[in-house]
């Protein structure tokens, strides 16, 4: 009787969730309120956390609250510190929440809000949160080792090296695609460009203040920095309205690309305290604050979803990205559903601070649920603006034209009524000269956020402010990621090259550092430039590459989980990791195959290249290229992208082979063969 009563409240949650999800999924024709989406999501998270994560914690992994964690074993008050679980949750969440969950769902909204929502919910419960949780557990039982080390340890040196190299390539693609989002948001926007540029002197001032005036006073300097940032937004407005200043901050995509590349090189070479650290404070706090504000805004404003549940583009052939729902939806939304990059965080700083092994459930599984909620909010923000405006912002000019009249006509022809006046008015509302051709997620999300937040604070007059606030917030943490990623890439590269030329390995040598930094910047800069000049918007090419690589890293992490479960002699539960790994392998390998070999030139790189080689052979210019040289460049880039795709597929397939071998070996053994740090009891501190 008692046990039934204990489950009764969860039954209520389940019924409410099912009703909300039913309302969301079954409404046809009439628009529904965003609160239904939020309710459905929260109920799903609660049930999944209460039951599935408990099952994984108790039965699958067997978390042991009496076992000493690395934080206690190596406690040094610095890297290894037993930390309160709520405090650590904040740290972990801030580390995993980035641009990904904000961009993917916005791009996926072209199919309607329903496919994206269902994948975000199912993906996080059965794949994403499971991955984060299992990797955190595995790393905690192995002194907080990194993913590369773990793969090496449990599968062998070769797969470890392969995984490391794969991670480097993934990072290059991530940096390129993130930088592309910034370029798309700032092109021809003096307001945005000024505001984002102003963050550099603001951060440098903060860095100097923290170093020489009031060392270590993070809270104080962050408040000062925040005030200066808000001033920069208003300054940007003044600049954009000034006939003398506005042209000085108006750049096209190519110019911004060169600036970003130069910025990346300089920022990654400066001392960390001067620029990277202070801007990291700003971007982290702004990120957390904005996420909270958006959540409050959605509950308070209760916006109505304008986007239909399903659009005709769910069949494929959408303007924002091409390809059919399977497999491309599942790689377009990576973060928010499942993201391989989290495996790097879960095997990074977090396991070194876990006070008790039992906390891994709350921090690993729960942290990912929180990130998934960010993705749901991004989906809501993108779906509550007029679909016509959504498509006008995200469709490439090569497809819909570049004047408001042409764009409105094409998009209205698709069945999403929109007039040129609406497009001009929206641009005016957000303080921009145009909103056309701004694919990449950030501007769309900014319009959506402005749409929600101005109803809560400030009214229509504040719409432009909120738009640029959202752009600033995204650009800020993307730039931080570019800076930090370039540094990390440099270290990886020096490590890799050092195996061949020992002199390059020396991280205390300035020429070696500058050389490796230049190579890393050149690598992502190349893909960025390619994306910027791509007439189809670049997102079309780069985002699937990013999605495929990120999901493949997730598959690698989950396969590691399967191997560890086999080695623990818990193979009867291995499906918990094996099922999502199999699904991700199916999605990424199909997507990779189609990206390389599909006969549709919109999807397949080689088919696209073939169209241009044919044109070159016949001496015909194939639009949108304007010169034979441009055509040759397109052919080269297509083949390069196809090669990269093949490389990712090779990485994941070889890890698959090694993990099957490791599983078979573990099965043949008659006792557990894991490489865990030996059990040591925790001193008599009860689990909190």
């Amino acid at each position: 009787m008692h046990s039934i009563r204990r489950h009764l409240v969860w039954l209520v949650v389940a019924v409410v969730g099912a009703f909300a999800l039913g309302t969301v999924a079954l409404s046809r024709g009439e628009s529904i309120n965003a609160l239904w989406v939020v309710t459905a999501a929260i109920c799903v998270y609660l049930i999944a956390y209460r039951y599935y994560s408990l099952f994984i914690a108790d039965k699958v992994l067997g978390l042991d609250g009496s076992r000493k964690t690395p934080a206690h074993r190596h406690n040094d008050g610095l890297d290894y510190v037993p930390t309160d679980k709520n405090v650590l949750f904040g740290h972990h969440f801030a580390a995993i929440a980035g641009a990904g969950p904000l961009v993917g769902p916005v791009l996926a909204a072209q199919m309607g809000y329903l496919p994206g929502l269902l994948w975000v919910l199912a993906g996080v419960v059965f794949a994403g949160a499971v991955q984060d949780f299992i990797i955190l557990f595995i790393s905690t039982r192995r002194d907080g080792r990194s993913l590369g080390d773990l793969v090496k340890q449990e599968m062998g040196v070769v797969p470890g090296m392969i995984a490391l190299f794969g991670t480097f390539m993934i990072m290059i693609i991530i940096l390129a695609v993130l930088a592309l989002i910034v370029v798309k948001a700032l092109a021809e926007s003096p307001w945005g460009t000024f505001t984002v540029a102003a963050t550099i002197p603001v951060a440098v001032f903060m860095g100097l203040y923290l170093r020489y005036i009031r060392p270590g006073r993070i809270g104080e300097v962050s408040v000062i920095g925040f005030v200066l940032l808000m001033a920069a937004i208003f300054g940007g407005q003044a600049v954009s309205q000034s006939p003398t200043w506005a042209p000085l901050f108006t750049f096209d995509g190519k110019a911004l690309t060169w600036m970003l590349v130069g910025y990346g090189f300089v920022a990654a070479s400066l001392p960390v305290w001067l620029l990277l650290a202070p801007r990291d404070y700003l971007s982290t706090f702004l990120k957390i604050g904005t996420i909270v504000a958006l959540a409050i805004g959605i509950v308070f404003v209760m916006p109505t979803l304008q986007m239909p549940a399903l659009t005709q583009f769910a069949q494929g052939n959408g303007p924002v990205w091409s390809g059919s729902l399977f497999p491309f939806l599942f790689i377009t939304i990576a973060c928010g559903a499942v993201s391989g990059f989290h495996a790097l965080i879960s095997s990074g700083t977090t396991p070194k601070m876990l006070d008790n092994e039992k906390h891994a459930r709350f921090i690993g599984y729960g942290g990912m649920l929180a990130e998934s909620f960010v993705a749901v909010m991004a989906l809501v923000a993108a779906s509550c603006i007029e679909p016509g405006i959504y498509f006008a912002m995200n469709s490439p000019a090569a497809l819909v034209g570049s004047t408001p009249e042409a764009v409105a006509q094409v998009i209205s022809g698709w069945g999403f009524a929109v007039t040129p006046d609406m497009l001009l008015q929206t641009a005016k509302d957000v303080g921009e000269s145009t909103i056309l051709g701004r694919a990449g997620g950030a501007p769309t999300l900014a319009v959506g956020m402005a749409h929600i937040l101005h109803q809560a604070i400030g009214g229509p007059a504040m719409m432009a402010f909120w738009y640029h606030f959202a752009i600033l917030f995204e650009a800020l943490f993307i730039l931080t990621a570019v800076d930090a990623g370039t540094r990390a890439g440099r270290f990886m590269l020096q490590d890799l090259m050092g195996s061949f030329v020992p002199a390059l390995k020396r991280t205390d040598s300035l020429p070696a550092n500058l050389f490796a930094t230049a190579l890393t910047v050149a690598a992502w800069g190349y893909f960025l430039y390619q994306g910027v000049v791509d007439p189809l918007g670049g997102i079309n090419t780069l985002w699937p590459l990013f999605g495929i690589s990120n999901q493949m890293l997730a598959a690698v992490a989950l396969m590691l989980g399967v191997v560890v479960l086999f080695r623990m002699k818990r193979e009867r539960y291995a499906w918990v990791a094996a099922a999502p790994a199999a699904w991700l392998l199916a999605c990424t390998l199909t997507a990779g195959w189609q990206k390389i070999f599909s006969a549709d030139p919109k999807v397949g790189f080689l088919a696209h290249a073939a169209r241009y080689t044919e044109g070159l052979a016949n001496g015909v210019l194939v639009a949108p290229a304007k010169t034979p040289e441009a055509m040759a460049r397109i052919v080269f880039n297509d083949r390069l992208d196809a090669g990269l795709c093949a490389l990712f597929m090779f990485v994941v397939l070889s890890v698959l082979v090694y993990s099957v071998k490791a599983c078979l070996a573990a099965r043949a053994a008659n006792r557990p063969t894991v490489h865990e740090t030996p059990y040591e009891p925790l001193a008599a501190v009860p689990a909190r």
Binding site: L78, V81, A94, G216, S269, V272, A277, R487, T507
Partner: protein
């Protein structure tokens, strides 16, 4: 038990609020890679009483380099 009953009300709420605020501050600092300085001090006092702990400023710098310096070596 008696204490608990007697202290119910404002002081209890105040203490709870103070604890939460402190945890929030700790969490925000840890988000940017700065662990709690007091915890570090008590750790040093408990396990290495013979060594002088770093000052807050030195602790701050050490953590900053550790977070962004990517392990070995200093940044140029």
């Amino acid at each position: 038990m008696m204490m608990k009953l007697g202290n119910l009300g404002l002081p209890e709420a105040g203490r709870y609020l103070a604890r939460s605020t402190r945890a929030l501050g700790q969490s925000l600092r840890l988000m940017v890679g700065l662990p709690d300085y007091d915890t570090y001090l008590s750790h040093m006092a408990a396990t290495h009483p013979e060594r002088a702990p770093m000052s807050y400023e030195a602790f701050f710098r050490e953590r900053l380099e550790a977070r962004y310096g990517a392990g070995k070596g200093r940044c140029c």
